[in-house]
Amino acid sequence: MRRLLVLGAGTAGTMVVNKLRPLLARDAWDITIVDQSEEHHYQPGYLFVPFGTYRPDEIVKPRRRLIADGVRQVTGVIDEVVPAAHVVRLADGTELPYDQLVIATGTHPAPEETPGLDDPAAKERGVHTFYTLEDAVALRDALAGFDGGRLVVNLVDLPIKCPVAPLEFAFLAEAWLREHGLRERTEVTYVTPLDGAFTKPLASRELGGMFAARGIDLEPDFMLERVDLDAQALVSYDEREVPFDLLVTVPLNMGAAYVGRSGLGDELRHVKVDPHTFLADGHDDIFALGDAANLPTSKAGSVAHFAVDVFVDNLLAHIAGRPMSASFDGHANCFIESGDNKALLLDFNYDTEPLLGYFPLPGVGPLTLLAESEANHLGKLAFRWIYWHVLLPGRPLPLATAMSMLGKTRPVVAEDDDREKPRPGELQEVSM
């Protein structure tokens, strides 16, 4: 009997075991999945909890019912992977041997990495986040008591899971303030280490324009050193200060502690992998999927979904001794809630930045890319049902695994661009 061991029963881990169980003969392959929690959270729902759109019980299900029959489930805290012995050790001393290992334990907020954020008094001083369910509930209560002032939305550093979530929070909060008659009395500021609203040029320009239209101030190039709780201010490494009455921050995200202890991670404990096959550097029997891997694309459920499709084909080839011929393109597909029951859609991969245009979706119709629409908002809300009933069970979705250029518009480069061409023989001035 050979053993496939999957660490983490989140989006990626659950999909992997559910897709592979019917494809691997039960008398030849044992499949075991390990998680420290008995619950599965629909993490995209955290964003909506502070505004009362979702109740906590609407985004949590018992883990056991979501995993296919014939998959052994183990509850426990992972202590270490020992690659030389092909074994995973749990904190209670249990040893789980493997022939193939999949690491899918995600990435998690690490407030302890920023002075002030993990202080027990932080919440009393208006410091909040929504990256765990418990924190999202605490923020809901803080918003209920908010009476105007300075609302600051911040992300500490990249990469974070769901990199568009802080933008969405700013848009939703701005709309929520208007609905509650608090907008006139509230300054909203978005504080980011990036040089604009987002990383990629076109998306950054479009989203930056949406900030301006909503009167949200942008504070770019802000590397947070610490949060001064007494002064209620963010302090950057170059000693700029941004005061707040209510701070909603996304702490640094890091992979699981055992990844670091096992020597498999980068400095943020994300597993170093081949970006096309997910095989961990230097190993032939360890893969990492979803947010746990250091892929140069978004850490998002959609990426995990497209990646699992590629991985399943590759694992079957790999265990049969054939080369892994499927190659992941970094495809990501993200809705961005923009308030007032509208949303945008981004679709991109390793090589193509988010572009404008439309996204064809069979049975639903085209969705607008990088532009607001109500259809996109309905798509985002419908996704919760799709997640539980189609995605996690491993049923097919009408979405191509590889990104398609259909409907996308590349920006036109004017032929008669009259910007000064670089003169040969001189180093051009650089603005930064």
Binding site: P163, D195, T199, Y237, S298, V430
Partner: protein, 104 residues
């Protein structure tokens, strides 16, 4: 893609002025690039630049500020003093490395 000729050598740059081929870099060029963005190079600058280039060569990507601090031992605070306001961008420009990719 622009080409600049510096001290009789052709240097290939991207649209933002970053070197596209790290092998065209040397320390004399670093001094020129630094002057171009208003930085006078010191031995400490060069120490950071040498570490960043060696790390990028090994890892295949430009180190982030967090990596420079946690792995390289260069405190972020100091990097902001050496390369004011935008240390990650300015360091990679002077070091002839790709601009660090902000992962989406």
């Amino acid at each position: 893609m622009p080409v600049a000729t510096i001290d009789g050598r052709e240097i290939h740059l991207d649209d933002e002025g970053f070197l596209t081929d790290p092998s065209e870099w040397d320390e004399a060029l670093a001094t020129r690039l630094a002057t171009n963005i208003g930085i006078e190079l010191t031995d400490r600058h060069l120490e950071v630049i040498r570490w960043a280039r060696a790390d990028a060569d090994e890892q295949g990507e430009t180190p982030t500020l967090r990596r420079l601090q946690n792995v390289g031992g260069f405190p972020t605070k100091e990097l902001f003093q050496l390369f004011p306001k935008k240390p990650a961008k300015k360091l990679s420009y002077v070091a002839g490395l790709q601009k660090p990719v902000g992962c989406v």
